[in-house]
């Protein structure tokens, strides 16, 4: 249990540093903004109570907001993500349910499950984020394009991270 908390804590610090020091400086065009930090919420254990999930989402979002000067924007989107996570998990649950003590990773539940899990949640989060950021409808299609392109980018980064860091544990 303590081990699990520590592991998530370090993952939080690591993802925040990657997001703030590396990915926020990725300035190719206004249409590609990767937000890998949401992987923290995606990787919390299955049995996390939904209240704790939302509070952790709030903390994650506020930390990013502090560094990006977007007070409340990422917090709102990440709380929404944390709220939707149990619902998406329920929607795409395997027939025999989730094994106790496993984590939502690519290698525990297979690529097909993981692609739909990460894909749905990334798109939901980015939708909320980009439309809240602009908060009007007169740039609707341009914002839509940003959502789609950025979601694709974040999604690819999440999949790459899964292959980089969670391969060896699966073999053991």
């Amino acid at each position: 249990m303590i081990n699990e908390i520590l592991r998530n804590f370090f993952r939080f610090i690591f993802l925040m540093l990657i997001q703030i020091l590396v990915l926020n400086n990725f300035q190719v065009s206004g249409y590609l903004n990767p937000f890998l930090y949401i992987l923290f919420v995606l990787m919390l254990p299955f049995e996390t109570p939904s209240a704790l999930l939302m509070l952790l989402g709030l903390v994650t979002g506020l930390t990013i907001d502090m560094f990006m000067d977007t007070m409340g924007l990422h917090a709102a989107a990440t709380v929404f993500l944390a709220f939707m996570r149990p619902k998406v998990l329920k929607l795409i649950s395997p027939r025999e349910g989730y094994e106790f003590g496993t984590q939502p990773t690519l290698h525990h539940l297979g690529p097909k499950w993981y692609f739909s899990y990460a894909g749905i949640l990334v798109i939901l989060h980015h939708f909320a984020l980009f439309y809240l950021e602009i908060f009007r409808f007169d740039e609707f299609w341009r914002t839509f394009l940003r959502v789609i392109l950025s979601s694709g980018f974040t999604f690819s980064l999440i999949i790459i991270t899964q292959f980089l860091f969670y391969r060896s544990r699966n073999k053991a």
């Binding site: 206004g30 502090m66 560094f67 007070m71 709380v79 709220f83 149990p86 341009r142």
Partner: protein
């Protein structure tokens, strides 16, 4: 009453979700008002330290460009010095210095965090309240306008960049004096849009756009950019002008914060006239 509590308890996640989102929205919209909440911005101490450490590394890679810009600016200032003009006038009276009063005060600052790829972009600089920076003052660089100071902490300030949906800067076309507001509509960080110029004005590609004297923040005549193209939609009375910005927002390292020392006097007077 017990039923009510039972109802809330059964659906606690929905209620918690609502409460948290209302809190976030409160922060979001309060933040849109100018300089009200400076607690969770990159002007705070933790974020400021992280960004400063990061920029100290990145600074080395930009030294060459920074030197070049400084050298150019030095040359320009040398040109403006009295020493570089030949004095042809016969001195027949003393010039009293007390006739001139300083209106603008410049403070130089280093950019320690910057972005161009979001819809709403902010900068952070390494000067703050202790160095005399005040909210709602203008920020320029040697090439052109940058933005407006939004929040200040003791040693850092965060700046609302021209590349922000709420930034509207009053500018004019240099050779005609017609004025309009410069806004950024997202997308490419090198171009902004100028609206409100009526159809009877003659425009040409390459015309200079600069700040006008009506703004209480910017001094008159700060370069904003040049006209890249302009079009007139059928049935409209105003041009839509695409402006190539003279500031390279991706490559900012040193900026100047300009404090208009007579701003309050002017605003007070204008307020009084409006109230009458």
């Amino acid at each position: 009453m017990r039923n009510l509590f039972a109802f809330i308890w059964r659906n606690y996640e929905y209620f918690l979700f609502l409460i948290l989102e209302v809190g976030c929205f409160f922060l979001l919209f309060q933040n849109n008002n100018f300089h009200k909440a400076a607690y969770i911005t990159s002007a705070n101490r933790v974020a400021g330290q992280v960004y400063q450490g990061m920029s100290q590394v990145g600074q080395y890679f930009r030294l060459k460009n920074a030197n070049e810009a400084l050298a150019n600016e030095n040359a320009m200032l040398h040109n403006m010095l009295k020493d570089s003009y030949m004095d042809l006038k016969v001195r027949d009276s003393l010039i009293k210095d007390t006739l001139l009063r300083q209106q603008y005060h410049y403070t130089s600052a280093r950019v320690i965090n910057n972005s161009v790829n979001r819809r709403n972009n902010y900068l952070t600089i390494d000067r703050g309240r202790l160095q005399g920076i005040k909210p709602e003052t203008a920020v320029i660089c040697s090439n052109g306008i940058v933005g407006i100071v939004k929040d200040v902490s003791d040693n850092f300030s965060s700046i609302l960049c021209l590349l922000h949906k709420d930034a509207r800067i009053s500018v004019k076309i240099k050779h005609t004096n017609f004025f309009g507001s410069l806004v950024w509509e997202g997308g490419d960080y090198r171009y902004a849009t100028l609206n409100d110029i009526p159809v009877n004005v003659e425009l040409a590609k390459g015309d200079t756009i600069q700040t006008n004297a009506y703004s209480t923040l910017f001094p008159e005549g700060v370069m904003a950019g040049v006209i890249e193209s302009f079009e007139l939609k059928p049935g409209k009375n105003f041009y839509v002008i695409r402006v190539k910005l003279s500031t390279d927002f991706k490559n900012l390292s040193y900026v100047y914060v300009i404090d208009n020392l007579m701003k309050e006097e002017q605003q007070k007077l204008e307020m009084r006239s409006q109230n009458d």
